[in-house]
């Protein structure tokens, strides 16, 4: 997931501490994120790509044009472009790629939410069955959800019966309000209502500060709760939903489409964008170990390319979490203070992730709080 942050365009890009963000993942620190790098597959230190990348000023609005997407995707070799669905609403282009037959994913930009990107920072999408459509996730703001819905309506007339909310983080679920008119089942982890109760209003206020008053979207609570596993039937296509233990958050869901061998992991998997730890470090590593045994032709991460190989795509995340765990434990054992540890742990990962400086210190703080009780 991600936090809110800063861009040069709007004052809402003020440092997140300033906005009072605190829980876990929400707290970016560090400098201004240049847009150009985010359009280049999220490699933070990579030279900007695209014909005009070098000329793009830092404050270039983060509107994800189809051309940018195509260039970015092509350059990185994750193209499945033959059946991309595009819709344009109010000048914003919304592009999804069909990563497997009937599974359409919009790649989010590797930024924190800003007024310019309108919260469209997570990978979100939909799965079409014979009789019905399932959404996962509904998006990072009301308008993000509305654009997703418009794209679905272009692709199929089947009713939207399920909206899967993969976890509590706002970049994934604040678009849910765009789907209330479809009267779907809003599917969530059994612990999601509790997490929403603790945080949703807090998130809504912060998101409104960034996107503009009233633009975050209504808080939608799940109507169908998953305790362990369940299935949803789209007609000729049955999706398996799994509720995970405390990992990225305490309310993570994943969805498997056995028909195409596609596993949608949401933020249980980060690719290229630095992971944010808001649940349990040990729990996340344990869930990854289990997930790696799942046979899947491809997975859809919550951030990063729309589709990656499995389980090889878990390697970077595991290395980061392992490093975080090992070095945090070492710091605790040596009596290094929590604030000092935040400045020194996992720095070998710095060049490997987008937004590293915005999240790593906070991840260390979370890890430290967890591991110091071992």
């Amino acid at each position: 997931m991600s936090g809110f942050a800063r861009d040069n365009d709007s004052r809402l890009g003020a440092p997140a501490q300033f906005l009072g963000a605190t829980p876990g993942c929400w707290l970016p620190i560090g400098g201004v994120v240049s847009v150009s790098k985010d359009l280049c597959c999220g490699h933070p230190r990579r030279r900007p790509c695209g014909p005009d990348a070098a000329r793009r000023p830092k404050s270039f609005p983060a509107i994800l044009s189809r051309r940018d997407v195509l260039l970015g995707v092509c350059a990185c070799g994750f193209a499945q472009l033959t059946r991309a669905v595009t819709s344009t609403t109010a000048g914003q282009t919304f592009v999804t790629d069909e990563v497997a037959p009937g599974i359409h994913i919009r790649r989010g930009v590797d930024e924190d939410a800003t007024r310019a990107n309108e919260g469209a920072i997570a990978n979100i999408g939909f799965i079409i069955g014979r009789d019905a459509v399932a959404v996962m996730d509904p998006g990072g703001s009301l308008v993000d959800g509305q654009r997703l819905r418009a794209t679905i309506r272009r692709a199929t007339n089947a009713p939207i019966r399920y909206v899967v909310m993969s976890h509590v983080h706002p970049d994934h679920i604040f678009g849910a309000g765009a789907f209330t008119e479809d009267r779907p089942q809003f599917v969530g982890h059994a612990l999601l209502p509790n997490a929403l109760a603790q945080r949703a209003e807090y998130y809504r206020v912060r998101l409104d500060q960034i996107l503009g008053a009233g633009r975050s979207g209504p808080i939608v609570t799940p109507t169908m709760l998953i305790k362990e596993r369940d299935r949803i039937d789209l007609g000729g296509r049955t999706l398996q939903i799994t509720a995970h233990g405390n990992a990225h958050t305490d309310c993570d869901l994943s969805v498997l489409d056995p028909q195409t061998g596609t596993l949608l992991l949401s933020d249980l998997l980060f690719v290229r964008r630095v992971p944010s730890l808001d649940g349990s470090l040990k729990g996340w590593l344990a869930e990854l170990t289990k997930l790696k045994t799942v046979t899947a032709r491809r997975v859809v991460p919550g951030h990063g390319p729309a589709s990656v190989d499995w389980p090889s795509a878990s390697r970077d995340l595991e290395r980061y979490l392992d490093t975080l765990q090992r070095e945090t434990r070492e710091a605790i054992a040596k009596g290094v203070d929590i604030d000092q540890a935040a400045k020194t742990v996992a720095l070998s990962e710095r060049d490997k992730w987008a937004l590293f400086d915005d999240y790593n210190g906070h991840n260390v703080t979370r890890a430290y709080k967890e591991l110091e009780w071992d």
Binding site: F18, T22, P23, A197, V205, C251, T365
Partner: protein
């Protein structure tokens, strides 16, 4: 008491949140005015906490350290150093712009080595933090640090209140650095406690989670006082306090904590001993 108090906190939280937003709109122009406001605020606090007493400059008696920009406003590490040659009786930690500014008051006992003290606090808004050392002769010396952090008080404590309450009262104590009988050593005390401050709202019930926080901690070593702490809602969830004391070859540290619901938690630790938890 918690429930009665929350009404007041609700208003304060709203006011503070509002000032954060407005501050954000015009950070460049606010500094001068802010400084005047902060000075006035401190004057007011000083008069109410230490009536008719003079608060002197730090005079090298005390320094306070904190990260100038906090990573996590709900967990801001603070370090107090009292390495001056004046014996110190106790120390106050005051977070000027928190809803309850008096965060902690330590009184040191004969077994203490009060030169270095660390704790973690919540910070609700950009604020000055004042550390006031009280020397044995009753003089007050103040050190100040400005901290940029916001939202630490009203931010949700964690995803699950119930889980936090289930493990409440667990304690750990460990020594940092080398143990030598008769020589001062630093010890880190950890206490599992959500330290709900009454400012975290449950959005479904629309109620604030009732305040429940640690009020006092007494640490004694072989029957002699190390410190007595009076705390308030500003200590972080799962309080962690690092303090100095002078151990014998073998002894026992007893810790008794009491929270605002009058629950008492106590543990005894052998010092030195196998790490306990």
């Amino acid at each position: 008491m918690g429930l009665k108090k929350t009404g007041g906190y609700r208003v304060l939280a709203a006011v503070l949140a509002g000032s954060v937003i407005l501050g954000g709109l015009q950070p460049a122009f606010a500094d001068e005015e802010d400084n005047q406001d902060r000075a006035a605020r401190w004057k007011q606090l000083q008069e109410s906490i230490f009536p008719h007493r003079q608060v002197l400059d730090s005079g090298g008696i005390i320094t306070v350290d904190a990260p100038p920009r906090a990573l996590d406003a709900a967990l801001v590490p603070i370090e107090l150093r009292m390495a001056g040659n004046q014996p110190v009786k106790g120390v106050y930690l005051i977070i000027d712009d928190n809803p309850a500014p008096m965060a902690a008051h330590f009184v040191f006992g004969p077994k203490a080595d009060p030169r270095d003290l660390k704790l973690r606090v919540r910070v609700n808004a950009y604020t000055n933090i004042h550390a006031i050392a009280e020397t044995q002769d009753g003089q007050l010396h103040a050190a100040t640090k400005f901290v940029k952090a916001a939202g630490g008080c009203s931010a949700p404590a964690g995803p699950d209140d119930n889980a936090a309450l289930a493990d409440m009262g667990r304690m750990k104590l460990r020594l940092l650095g080398d143990f030598n009988a008769g020589k001062p050593v630093q010890a880190q005390l950890m206490i599992r406690h959500p330290n709900f401050n009454g400012m975290q709202m449950n959005q479904i019930t629309r109620y604030f989670t009732p305040a429940r926080f640690i009020r006092t901690i007494d640490a004694t070593y072989d029957g002699g006082q190390v410190f007595h702490l009076d705390a308030d809602i500003s200590l972080s969830t799962d309080p962690v306090i690092t303090f100095g004391f002078v151990p014998h070859a073998k002894g026992q540290m007893k810790v008794v904590a009491q929270d605002s619901s009058n629950a008492t938690f106590d543990h005894s630790f052998d010092v030195p001993g196998a790490p306990s938890g």
